[in-house]
Amino acid sequence: MSFLHNAGTVAKYETVILRRSWFFRLFTIGSLVIFSFMNIGLFSPVGGQPWELISIPSTIPLINLYLLNIGQAIVVIFLAADFLRRDKKLDTNEVLYTRSMSNFEYVLGKTWGIIRLFLGLNIIILCIGLLMNIISKSISVDILSYLQYILIFTIPTIVFSLGLAFLLMSVIRNQAITFLILLGIAALDMFWFWYRAGSIFDYMAFGLPVYKSEVIGFDNVEGIIIQRLLFFFAGMAMVMGTVLIFKRLPQSKLHTSLAVLFLILSVSASVFCGYKIYTAVTNNYETRERVTETNREFENRIFPVLTDVSIELTHEGETIEAEAYLKITNDNGEPLETYLFSLNPSLTVNKITAQARDLEYKIYNHVIEVMPGKVLLPGMSDSLKIEYTGRINEAYCAPDFSGNLKDNINRIAMFNVSKRQYFLTDNYLLLTPETNWYPVASLNFYPANPARIKIDFTNYTLKVKSVKGLVAVSQGRREFDSAGYTFTPESPLTGLTLAMGNYRSDTIKVDSITYITHFFPGNDYYKKDLTELKDTLPNLISGIMRDLETSFSSDYPFKTLSLVEVPAQFYSYTRQSTQTRAEVQPSLILLPERLSSLENAGFGQRFKNQKKRMARNNQVITDKELQIRLFNDFMRENFISGTNTVYARNNNDESTYSEPSRYRLGPSFYFYRNNFHSSEFPVINAVFESHLQHLFQQGSRTGFLSMLGSLSEIDKANLILRTKSFSELLAENPKGDTVRVVLGVKGDWLFNLLRSEAGIEEFNKWFRKYCDENQFRSVDLMKFRSDVKQEFNFDFYPYLDKWFNGRQQPGFLFSGLRVSEIVVDERSRYQVSFTALNPEAVPGVFNISFRGEGPGRQGRPGAGGFSPQGPGSGQSFMQGRGMEASDIEKIVLLGPGETKMISIVTDVQPRAVVINTLFARNIPGEINMPVDNIIKSRRNQNSFTSDEKIIATSENGDPGEIIVDNEDPGFSSGADIVEAPLKRLFGITNRRSKSYMQVAQWNIPEYWQPVVQSSYYGKYVRSAVYKRTGSGDRPLTWSANITEPGYYDVYCYIGKSMERRRIRTDREGGQEGPVAREGEQEESRFKDHHYKVYHDDGVEEITVDYENAEAEWNNIGRYYLSKDTARVILSDQSSGRLVIGDAVKWVKVE
């Protein structure tokens, strides 16, 4: 008992001493203030109550302890190191050291003293959160989670931090060095280690996914316990180590032995936990490798088509037992001697039979090769039954992803959430087709062709029995009897999903489609929040579905649409073979529990906020109108047009991009309905899907990313394709949004090619019909080719080889824009003509649209209804995407080296001609040619719209002109950027300096960043460089070699966006009309630019006022230059915020 007494005494007074230290007091007061405000601001009835944070109640203790833990992990370092520093003042502590207590008691007492102090603070902070939780009636209380998060965050973090601090102080005995090391370790955890190697170094649980579902609780209890025990035991081991090396003569052999024993036990336990984590990571990796290798082995083998599947499944807690009756057809051109199927490798095949006869089979990891004992001739069918049992191996589902936390990070609010592909527990089950929980006649991933996919439209039936009495949810008509649930989908499906849990359901039938919501008890909060919608709901749903059908030019192909609530940890990886995510299945969408991570889902709070805002603005709106608005916003943002921002790591490159919402209904209108396949171009379905679902039409660049200076997706894609072909890129299987953006550009190119020859409207009409006729059928690309050829007399197939395998890009040069107002049939119309040249060796396609009168972009007809940006957003917006393509005036196919005079007559006065160069060398790919002059002609004129091939004009400019662009060798932006040694050490590269961007709204670089805009000077790449205003020490230099002495006019190029241009309306005969300024504009960030022109008589300093300069070449003087190098320098000093430099021109004066 003296152990407890002595250790307790030391702990008690250690607590008193630390509690009275100014450092801890400051931390405590600061924490209490911050967390009180945070809890009141977020969770109280008067707070913001953001839905992501209040939808699942365990988020309240989670956010409190997660944030507090970061702070206390650092503070505890100071306090722990301070304790040993105090002990170093020997005379102070010697009076204690001479007391009869063991070092074991003393160090443990100290440790416990600090722990209990922090535990106290944690409990106080949690009490604040709990108080807000209780008084906020809209949030239920998960009291257990408060305790669970203390065990997860506080205890292991503090024990580890203390142990490490004690040990380091005991060994190093230098407080400053110990601080530095410990703070370095804390920083490394937060910025480097948190996601690596299965979080094996994440002692703070900074990145560890510990999000708790109300349905299944923690998704990886064993993993979390092991990870936290690793650090708890490591901390204890270091505390024991401190006991043993403590600078005080020991007095108890028993306690010394105990310390040694605990040290050994703690080290062993810690090593064991570390080993478990390591093996989990390596097992995961090996599974993926094995799956990939097996796939590689079988990817060139032929598989049958699965036409009918009937599954009888029993859910037995953490395992399933199933029998699958399969009907297959051989649609290959050659006979099948063996049947190949894939099944999740953790499911064990017990028996395969056909007509009550056992069949031989072999298992290759997840591939089953069945020997039917006969040959299945092309076009013939066969049936067999596969009996299997077992669990699901999650690593199998996405073999091309590492499973690393940072690969496609999944977050709700600030918290990392596990990426669970399935759930198989006593009380809940979720199996999607991606898990291959039933045999399928394809591979889940084709390593040589990651964009390849084999889709079978299969007639399924499913019988489900649960020993736990859970409610089953799947596709199709549901029947329930004593034997369990039976599901019979009305149409063939590409895959079957099964969910089982304590589900409740609501059903509504609108326009012959049955909409079913399957939710967990109490999670239908939205009914209470949207009470006014009861009568209107059918109309709202009908309206949304009609909009979708119009947008996709196709009817919704299923009779039901089920919205199924699943645990928040459910996640699907992106795939190269499709843009469709596993959250959206045929006729079924899997939604996170309580819609926790969905945009605009907190209807109640949003209603209150908007009501208040409207009252402030004296706007009147009825509750019903407001609820309709909220409902529509929610539906559109999540199921139709929303985007998510993704923070992704691609090898060592980290990037931020936006991707379509995971819940978009788009796949129902193409991917789950139609399929085109080609053995020669396995990517074809993904390309069709990408274009037809126009998934990134509105989500191509959110305002946020645009403000950060991100490039448009077409530009990203074209830059990627500069060095490699489409097929090479796909074989590399890059992560992030690379494949998605390239698929988009390639798809747009292909469909624009088809439309260019077939006619836009004609092709669209025919293609819609074609898709309807081939619904739930897989179409060979060769058949599509012959059908297109027959209909339009155009063979697109010869273009595909270069399109897929070619490295060369076309490039377009445009010149001679001329717009005339003409009178045709006694009506004023506008004739737009310009010359287009493709000097490259491959054909190219570009499309043309007009920007009409009025501010900003005209609304997009047809598909504009869902645009979140609306008119005038100034965003890059590539026309010619999706089925509508009604924004395009003309599509032009330009052969290698071909030049055409393009002419279009339009009814609306164009303000600018907008050209989308699609797949081309042009950066940016969207070229705005402003219409500065409109020539008015009073005469009646015959309009002509045909293109006229003309003899190629020279690309070379005037021989008397020397132009040095920022892309040219004569241009210099100073010394190359030297990356800091630490950055080099950790492989952190400065992406901004290397690739093109757009001028950002914030985070402006201090170095010269290449930026692109169609108004900048350039051949294909219309770029400039810009930076934050500096002190003049980083100038730009344009140098040219003067071969002919004489007087030269020197010009600098100023490129301005459309919004900053002046519009002139020139009368015929060149009379200048009144200069019209656009409406109110924000003050320009570009102001005075200071050029130095070097010439024979010295240096001339010229200031160019950016705002008043022309958006073209601006003369900066005439100078005599002899044979030598001419130089123009632009300083980075300015009174504006930014400085930009583009091109300089010297023109010889004759």
Partner: protein, 297 residues
């Protein structure tokens, strides 16, 4: 109760031989360890309180080797280190309570009573709720002795307790120690202030450069200086000669020059009268004269 020190040697890693073959036997009462700075007093003290392990030799308390029985020794020990400062954020009573609790006083009520008793004994009861940084230097020393006394220790080791104290506090401190020495305890007082020894100690040892050069009672030390302490009145010129030749203990200016007290084995050449030595005179005689002679011989 007795403490036996046998063949104690302490050699530090830097080669400094801090204690050289110390042999000593201590009984109850107060024992003074006298010696100049660096003589090895603190090393001996730290070994006695089991803060340090000797290089060789043993210390036995009632026949029990303290290095093998640290737990028992520490239970019977009260220690006041030379530079005693306690945690600034603890109140006076809290620190005593902390010490008392670690001294084995598990009963909170008894501990509280003992804390107050000791605070009263050392005159700190009025400041029981005052934090350390608000105490004067003397108060801190008194608190130090109080914490050394809590738990009724049988061996009390005090290292340089009066250094830096004003005369009043020093007298007060000596009185506290004197009172304690009447109990059945061994008090080991290490000091370089000779006065601390004469007024309180029954026995004493003299340490010099790690060696024990004297072990006996203070009276013995004084007796050894008997007849070797002289007083004389000197002119300035004579004073210069005497200063060079003898160990001058004190110099007082008088009308005709200087009244000087010296220690010497021989009778000085100048007009000198023998005076009765006190312990300080004896200490100087011993350290500066006898030891030198001893070393020379």
């Amino acid at each position: 109760m007795k403490i036996e020190i046998r063949g104690l040697n302490q050699i530090y890693p830097n080669g400094n031989h801090a204690l050289k073959d110390i042999n000593l036997e201590l009984g109850t009462g107060m024992f003074g360890l006298l010696g100049p700075n660096g003589a090895g007093k603190s090393s001996l003290m730290r070994i006695l309180v089991a803060l340090m392990k000797p290089t060789s030799g043993v210390v036995l308390v009632d026949g029990m080797d303290i290095q093998k029985n640290r737990e028992k020794l520490r239970f019977m020990l009260g220690y006041l280190p030379q530079d005693f400062r306690f945690f600034t954020s603890l109140k006076t009573w809290e620190f005593l309570d902390y010490s008392g609790s670690l001294a084995g006083m598990k009963n909170r009520k008894e501990r509280k009573a003992e804390v107050d008793r000791l605070l009263d004994q050392v005159g700190l009861l009025e400041v029981r709720d005052r934090k350390a940084n608000k105490l004067s230097g003397g108060m801190k020393r008194r608190l130090g002795i109080a914490q050394a006394l809590i738990g009724n220790p049988r061996i009390i080791v005090v290292d340089e307790p009066t250094t830096g104290l004003d005369p009043d506090e020093r007298i007060r401190f000596r009185n506290i120690l004197s009172q304690l020495s009447r109990k059945e305890v061994i008090i080991i007082l290490s000091t370089h202030i000779v006065g601390d020894i004469s007024s309180t100690c029954q026995g004493m040892a003299l340490l010099n450069k790690g060696e024990m050069v004297f072990n006996g009672s203070p009276e013995n030390l004084v007796n050894q200086a008997e007849g070797h302490v002289f007083r004389m009145v000197l002119s300035p010129h004579e004073y210069d000669i005497v200063k060079e030749k003898y160990n001058v203990i004190s110099t007082v200016p008088v009308e005709t020059g200087w009244e000087v007290q010296i220690v010497s084995d021989d009778i000085p050449e100048f007009r000198a009268t023998k005076v009765k030595p006190n312990i300080e005179d004896a200490y100087v005689y011993y350290m500066e004269h006898k030891l030198r002679t001893y070393i020379t011989d």
